[in-house]
């Protein structure tokens, strides 16, 4: 045991000697060419057809006459005006543009103190984007200077944009060099990041936490959902304008915004605070309806009610009501719905093509698999046969998505057991995978790549070279993870025999994916019902019998390696030829029903789709992998466990709150 511990220490020291993986700020190297950022508009090519406004799923594009008045279709010359407080950067508008007048650049830095600056009229769209770093302001006094250099961010990530705030905690972007620190208590925090959409249930908690934060406090709103409802503008359960309730200081456009603009916003906030800015002085608008309801639980003597989440460093936007007796958990009840947007019905209002943009937002941690599942189901309905090349490209997309999801989970379980080193490293390495995804698909988190009929763009030869480099790098890093973390005796002690799950119980409660395989059942949809090109690829399914937190982590660690193998094979075997068959943006799909089953990073994902013969789905049912695992199985595992093991068990099951809430 001592030898193992020494090995871990040695590996840690070696890590210190290796090249740092932190990026410079402001970014010196240009971002990937393929990234979908701000548009650029060429008025000379525009034919005023208005197709871009028609396809936009978020209604962010409006056709305007000269001078900015909205125009009807009778007017001859009209140009698009884009509201980046609504745009989700899906690029459907650039795809449909018949003349190439509207294109996308890779410029992501859209930050504004005033929301109306995010409205881009045609003249502003025509100017090429340029990064202007804010000028260094004068220091007002010592207090303002000191305050600007030690801003603490509250740890309450409301929606899917938190995924791009995570890199700022990793070694890739490293926010601590700016003096930013994640604070778990609102009473010590200065900055409140509203990361993404806010549901009515979350709004009550936001207001409560905002009120608990002492002034001066600053609010940063990430993405377009807090500004206008964004992608979920027609959802019955999301708040459309967060500034109706609490004052917002900085808006960042993007869906989700890249880490760079978040960094820019932080620099802007620091500068403003340094020159004496102390936040907006508006009052919070609350009413009795917006108060968090009091809990009415019947408790025995010696019992105590302890909420785990939704504002907890290890919970995500999810709550467990724990009834505890001393250190032991008597009963655990999951409280969900903080992220419920009603995807299944939102999809009934969008065309089959527009839904690709929506469907991957169901699970922010593993968007690639959801896209693939949706596209496979639509192809079954429409009777489309995607080309082999597309199937291989989808395999690469889905496996990259799986790797980044598992790396994220390794970091989270590391955080839950106190290994913050592994958290920083895995999340830093995750950036490399995200870079590959960006080169392949044009998006880091939300790819919008697998569309019904194939994929959106072809693979470039230079991607292959880059992928080979990253694969070799990841294989080397996996060994470091093993020495530093997986084989570390402290980690083993902390997770072995914790959160035991028997095979029979897991099957009965429909636990799937890595959690089921760690309990000894070799079930993987990629093997049992092969889809895409998985039947042509050779890979193993790592399975263990023990079914505890340690082996669930181990399965994920092994799966990363298998996924690397799959990508390598797919890159070699990829046939040449077409990468898609035509599926029109407003195409109708024949009447009928179809189901698709996909192995996502968290387990079996099932889409059931009903078409009534129109250009929109009649009904979509998504059966996510975490619904049963978290809502049904987790309370049963937690019964009798210790409080300190809750985060370990919870993250060893790998939850995605957005997936079970939908």
């Amino acid at each position: 045991m001592i030898r193992e511990a020494l090995k871990s220490l040695k590996s840690g020291f070696q890590l210190l000697k290796s090249k740092p993986i932190t990026y410079n700020f402001p970014p010196e190297t240009p971002l990937a060419k393929e990234f979908r950022g701000r548009h650029i508009f060429d008025p000379t090519k525009c034919r005023s057809c208005g197709l871009c406004a028609k396809i936009c799923p978020n209604k962010a594009i409006e056709m305007v006459e000269e001078g900015g008045t909205p125009s009807s279709s009778q007017v001859k010359v009209r140009h698009p005006q884009i509201d980046y407080a609504k745009c989700c950067f899906c690029g459907l508008c650039a795809d449909i543009c018949p003349t190439g007048a509207l294109r996308m650049t890779n410029f992501p830095m859209l930050v504004a103190m005033d929301k109306s600056q995010l409205l881009f009229p045609p003249e502003k769209l025509a100017q090429p984007p340029e990064l202007k770093m804010p000028e260094k302001p004068k220091i007002k006094n010592l207090t303002s200077w000191a305050r600007s250099r030690s801003l603490w961010v509250i740890n309450f990530f409301t929606g899917c944009c938190f995924i791009e705030a995570i890199p700022w905690v990793s070694s890739g972007f490293d926010m601590e060099r700016f003096g930013l620190l994640v604070a778990d208590s609102p009473r010590h925090a200065d900055i409140f990041i509203i990361a993404g959409y806010v549901t009515w249930k979350t709004l009550k908690r936001i207001i409560r936490i905002y009120e608990q934060t002492p002034p001066p406090k600053f609010v940063v709103a990430l993405g377009n959902c807090p500004a206008t409802g964004g992608t979920y503008w027609d959802s019955y359960n999301t708040v459309k304008k967060i500034d109706d309730y609490i004052p917002v200081d900085i808006w960042i456009a993007g869906c989700p915004p890249r880490p760079e603009p978040i960094g820019l916003a932080v620099v802007e906030a620091m500068n403003a605070i340094q020159s004496g800015y102390t936040g907006k002085k508006e009052e919070v608008k609350t009413s009795e309806k917006l108060r968090v309801p009091a809990t009415k639980e019947k408790l025995e003597e010696n019992e105590f009610l302890l909420p785990f989440g939704p504002q907890h460093p290890a919970s995500g936007n999810f709550q467990l009501k724990l009834k505890i007796d001393g250190e032991n958990i008597v009963e655990a009840e999951p409280q969900v719905g903080y992220l419920h947007r009603g995807f299944e019905k939102l999809m009934e209002y969008r065309t089959w093509m527009q839904n690709v943009m929506l469907v991957e937002r169901i699970c922010v941690l593993d968007g690639g698999s959801y896209e693939v599942g949706y596209s496979v189901a639509v192809e079954k309905l429409a009777g489309l046969e995607p080309p082999e090349r597309a199937q291989h490209l989808r395999v690469i997309q889905a496996e990259l998505s799986r790797i980044q999801s598992h790396l994220l989970n390794l970091g989270l379980i590391g955080g839950a057991t106190g290994f913050h080193t592994i958290q920083r490293i895995t999340w830093g390495d995750r950036e490399k995978i995200l870079y590959l995804l960006e080169r392949l698909t044009g998006g880091r988190i939300y790819h919008i790549y697998s569309i019904p009929g194939g994929v959106r763009r072809d693979l470039k030869e230079e991607f292959k070279k880059e992928a080979v480099k990253v694969l070799a790098y990841m294989r080397k890093r996996l060994k470091t993870y093993d020495e530093l973390f997986i084989e570390n005796p402290v980690f083993r002690k902390r997770t072995l025999d914790i959160g035991k799950l028997k095979a029979e119980t897991a099957l009965e409660n429909d636990v799937t994916g890595p959690n089921l395989r760690a309990s000894g059942i070799k079930f993987d949809v990629r093997k049992s019902t092969p889809y895409l090109a998985y039947d042509q690829l050779d890979f193993e399914i790592p399975t263990f019998k023990e079914g505890d937190a340690y082996h669930r982590t181990l399965v994920r660690r092994m799966e990363i390696e298998e996924s690397l193998n799959i990508i390598e094979q797919a890159l070699k075997k990829i046939p040449s030829g077409a990468f898609k068959v035509r599926f029109a943006p407003f195409a109708t799909v024949p009447e009928g029903e179809a189901m698709s089953f996909i192995e996502s990073a968290r387990g079996e994902l099932c889409f059931h789709m009903v078409s009534s013969g129109t250009n929109m789905p009649y009904r979509v049912k998504v059966r996510g992998p975490t619904f049963d695992t978290i809502l049904v199985m987790l309370p049963k595992i937690l019964k009798g466990a210790k409080i300190a093991d809750v985060p370990v068990i919870y993250w060893s099951l790998d939850n995605c709150p957005a997936d079970h809430d939908r």
């Binding site: 407080a85 109306s116 359960n237 500034d243 419920h340 009603g342 429909d510 019902t529 009903v610 049904v632």
Partner: protein, 164 residues
């Protein structure tokens, strides 16, 4: 590749031939349509015959027909998926719960109860899951138009944020 398995499943269903139902097969998925009376019998039969994994309960709202299609999906270790569906009237929809057969069915039914307003008799868990203080109709019903609702309830932001 599923030929062998499918014949064995049809053999399985032959045992049930007294009950009336429709069955169609696509790949390894069996679509079974049954009457409301036979719905529970088929469910019990599948549970006895090794369909251990219960995937989900789903509802399709057929507004024009005036009925709800309620279905569940199960899976066995021979890799067969079966979807069993039945239609119930839209007025006062009620159907027996499957929570006695599969332990995780109760939570899925709770979701369908909340979103479609279907009563699963025998389910002890029917209380709000996702929503807090929701007074409106069950939100996923077809006759509840979200775009209309959102327009009326929120003043939707104009282009350019606050500049109205």
């Amino acid at each position: 590749m599923f030929e062998g398995i499918i014949t064995s499943v049809s053999g399985l269903f032959e045992k049930l031939d007294k009950l009336s139902f429709n069955r169609s097969v696509k790949g390894n998925v069996n679509y079974v349509r049954a009457s409301k009376e036979n719905y529970l019998k088929i469910a019990a039969f599948l549970k006895e015959n090794g369909f251990k994994r219960f995937l989900t309960v789903g509802v399709v709202d057929w507004l024009e027909k005036g009925s709800f299609e309620v279905y569940f999906i199960v899976h066995n270790m021979n890799n067969i998926y079966v979807k069993v569906s039945t239609e119930i009237p839209r007025e006062k929809p009620e159907i027996p719960s499957l929570s006695d057969l599969w332990p995780n069915a109760a939570m899925h039914e709770r979701e369908s109860w909340e979103l479609f307003g279907i009563k699963f008799s025998g389910n002890p868990m029917l209380k709000p899951l996702f929503l807090e203080d929701w007074n409106g109709p069950p939100p996923f019903k077809k006759d509840f138009n979200w775009r209309e609702y959102v327009k009326q309830t929120f003043k939707l932001p104009q282009a350019g944020g606050d500049k109205q």
